[in-house]
Symmetry: C2
Subunit: 345 residues, 2 copies
């Protein structure tokens, strides 16, 4: 299994990227080759600091870097020799099975879509994130790839997200829902109402609409939505969890009794933090492109990078994309048959 890592993408690149990559290589003997893409001198310096040598690791030079605030489409066009583009090129040329980047999200989505193209049967790729909840984890999709989607895109997210929940999260029969403004069937906008109607006919375990209040209540394992809503909701959840923790910390410092209480309870805070820490979850996956593409978040720690690489290996080993193509073929057949069945001829 061969992984390409964008060595220069992310707020703490190349340091955190290299440290995470080294951990991944140490832990995972099934990685046969790891391409670390970027400025060779800087990458080698980080490796030297770790005194890491491994014949599986190969530095692939790239002279440019797409910055976190570069305009996505233009930067992909203007920086063909960027670490991100070169890493994706390795997948495109089939030298690597997967690409991992903590860099500019928009640029990664653009470059992966342009260079890798979509899988057979998939119209538009979507970004899938996994969120933790007390009684399940759930896939939220699309979190940022496709800003003006058609209802059929949401149906395809349902199919791909369902496969994600089945194969990677190990739910035997994942429940798929549409994120709307209420759980009743008739609630929503044009996009969600039509997606709802279409999802009923897919054969997926479709449980209907849910709203933002239901997210963590174990009512669905896959939640489909358009990129704008998914992105806003994902970030709102992350920032709420963060602000609650920060605020509680302030409150715990107000007097010595509370401070002692906080000290005694620190194991609880630590365990909860670990459960909700996005770094533990390995990043978001761009589903539907012809190649495995993992987006680690911009501020990724070495742990996040390591877990993003682990996630990439799970998608490659499970032949996830082959299964998507198969599911899509079945879906299009079913829809075709339905259309025939409904035809007056």
């Amino acid at each position: 299994m061969r992984i390409a890592v964008d060595g220069m993408g992310g707020d703490y690149a190349p340091h955190n990227i290299v440290v995470g990559t080294v951990s991944a290589l140490r832990e995972n003997p099934r990685i046969s080759r790891l391409y670390l893409v970027g400025d060779p001198a800087r990458l080698q310096a980080e490796l030297d600091r770790l005194q890491f040598r491994d014949s599986r690791l190969e530095i692939v030079p790239a002279s440019e870097v797409i910055a976190m605030d570069d305009p996505p489409v233009q930067s992909v066009r203007r920086k063909p020799d960027s670490s991100m583009c070169r890493a994706i090129d390795l997948v495109k040329k089939r030298d690597a099975d997967a690409v991992v980047s903590a860099g500019n999200t928009g640029a990664l989505l653009t470059a992966a879509h342009l260079k890798l193209r979509t899988l057979d049967g998939v119209d538009r790729p979507g970004l899938a994130a996994v969120l933790p909840a007390p009684h399940n984890e759930f896939v939220l999709m699309d979190c940022g790839a496709n800003l003006e989607p058609h209802p059929t895109n949401l149906v395809q997210y349902g199919i791909m997200g369902s496969l994600y929940a089945r194969q990677i999260l190990h739910y035997p029969n994942p429940r798929v829902a549409v994120l709307s403004i209420g759980s009743e069937d008739m609630k929503g906008n044009e996009l969600t109402l039509e997606a709802h109607r279409l999802l009923k006919a897919t054969g997926l375990n479709f449980v209907g609409n849910i709203d933002g209040h239901d997210l963590f209540d174990n009512v669905a394992d896959v939640i489909v939505t358009d990129a704008f809503v998914g992105n806003a909701v994902l970030k709102a959840c992350e920032s709420t969890a963060r602000v609650v923790a920060r605020w509680l910390k302030q409150e715990l410092k107000r007097n010595p009794v509370r401070m002692l209480g906080g000290l005694l309870a620190r194991g609880a805070f630590r365990d909860l933090r670990r459960k909700v820490d996005p770094d533990e979850h390995g990043g978001a996956v761009l589903l539907g492109v012809n190649g495995v593409c993992i987006k680690a978040h911009g501020a990724s720690s070495p742990l996040a990078v390591k877990n993003a690489i682990r996630l990439a290996t799970e998608f490659v080993e499970g032949q996830f994309n082959e299964h998507i193509v198969e599911e899509m073929r079945r879906f299009h057949e079913k829809i075709g048959h339905n259309q025939l069945a409904q035809s007056p001829l």
Copy 2:
């Protein structure tokens, strides 16, 4: 000041509504009349249980109830004698200055829009909620009224939300932002990009785009968005805060040391809960209709009902709607002048 309260709307009506209304009357001598609308027998029974008598309170009979899961538009049409419709009618006839309901949100938005109409200069009303953060509170608007908005609607939300932040939250120069998928100017969908462009020309203290990660970081006091996103984000924030609290409680029960810690720190949990409790915030306000309309949340406690009534009195006393009309007039003049200035004639 005269307030109409929908006595039968909400998950715990009429009990919580009546208890909250009674507290509001006890605390606020400036309420000169309070119309409690609904089933007279049930409302009177609740009042008798509280042994409450007050000449300012008048029960207004209504024979129907719009249920929480009734289809909004149809129920408003088919249940003209519902407590909700009758309460709004009192504002329409100018017998009351404000209406408060914890009932079906969609029905309330529909009925208030239909019956009260919009204020001069406002094209579409929007639902404004206030969210707490460590260093400020902020207005999120629209949280559910207008599902297919035009960019100019978002501009008007900016103007109305800014007035809300100035007059009710007492920010002298509220910062207005557009919720998008990144803080850079060029990020967003067609709606937000155009709203961004228009907001720059309003003379508001417009600070540009923010994304879901920035919500609680004190970068904006008014955040405008379309109803679908606003609704999803508001509910996602509420459910995240709830799930973090629930989860932490579980973790604190795992062993005696943690339990003791939790006990000692309970003041911190209580203070934080009070700060983030939606019941403390009095509900959402439908801005832009000709009358004050407060939506308390469905599961409102008596405290939430009391605070929703308090919020209604603040809007009435501050002559909020007169100020909206004035701001809108000024805005349309300014835009008119700009158009003249740009005209080749």
